[in-house]
């Protein structure tokens, strides 16, 4: 079974801090994704990556950046945390890059619940 591991289940940070959320998958998947999930808004895509060192903006990239230095690891960075970034953050991965990757199942981690005070 695919395992997607997010480094923290709960995290509390202060406004203005630089925050790193880490995600690791163990099945050699090409694609990795970061979403945030908010009540009433569902899941929204922040950034995704289809290869090492490659990244593309999702629907709400403002205030975030990402890093993918190794295939198995995809990091989400909040450059200067703000209270409106308090949310549940979900990392996901999927297998193949060559195809339309929306036609593949995505495998999710258990999420990081981030609070910015």
């Amino acid at each position: 079974d695919v395992k997607v591991t997010q480094s923290s289940r709960y995290l509390v940070k202060r406004t203005g801090e630089k925050v790193f959320l880490e995600c690791v998958q163990d099945m050699d998947h090409e694609n990795m994704f970061w979403y945030r999930q908010d009540p009433g808004l569902g899941l929204r895509l922040i950034y995704f990556s289809y290869d090492v060192k490659m990244k593309e903006k999702g629907d709400i990239p403002e205030g975030y950046s990402v890093s993918r230095e190794k295939k198995e690891r995809f990091s989400l960075i909040l450059e200067s945390a703000s209270t409106n970034q308090t949310s549940m953050y979900l990392c996901a991965s999927s297998l193949d890059r060559g195809k339309d990757f929306s036609n593949q199942p995505q495998h999710f981690g258990d999420g990081t619940r981030l609070s910015i005070l």
Partner: protein
């Protein structure tokens, strides 16, 4: 990007009953996926159904897709307390955007 919309938003049923939830979408799709999310956990993929398929089964789950009505339904038969979760549909778009767009989710509570 387009978005699936589930209906109803919340459903409460007795153990052993069937649960049905619907998802509608606005534009043509290549495929539609259903996911489950237990409280405080990540999403788990349940079923992927392609636009040329009308019905798909997986254990106690049955998914139908009606592309003429732009809608899909997820049926859980003989529900169990462990089926208590939120259920999301997710669609792609044929516009060339490869992303998945998730609906807002249906909360299902199965009462033992």
């Amino acid at each position: 990007s387009q978005q699936g919309e589930e209906d109803p938003q919340a459903l409460s049923i007795q153990e052993g009953e069937n649960a049905t939830m619907n998802c509608s979408y606005k534009t043509s799709i290549n495929n539609l996926q259903w996911y489950r999310q237990n409280s405080g956990r990540g999403l788990v993929h349940l079923i992927l159904i392609r636009s040329n398929e009308r019905e798909k089964h997986s254990g106690r789950l049955r998914v139908t897709l009606d592309t003429s009505k732009k809608s899909s339904s997820l049926l859980i038969t003989a529900s169990r307390a462990a089926d208590t979760a939120s259920y999301f549909c997710a669609t792609d778009a044929r516009s060339g955007n490869n992303r998945l767009a998730f609906g807002k989710g249906n909360q299902v509570v199965v009462i033992p």
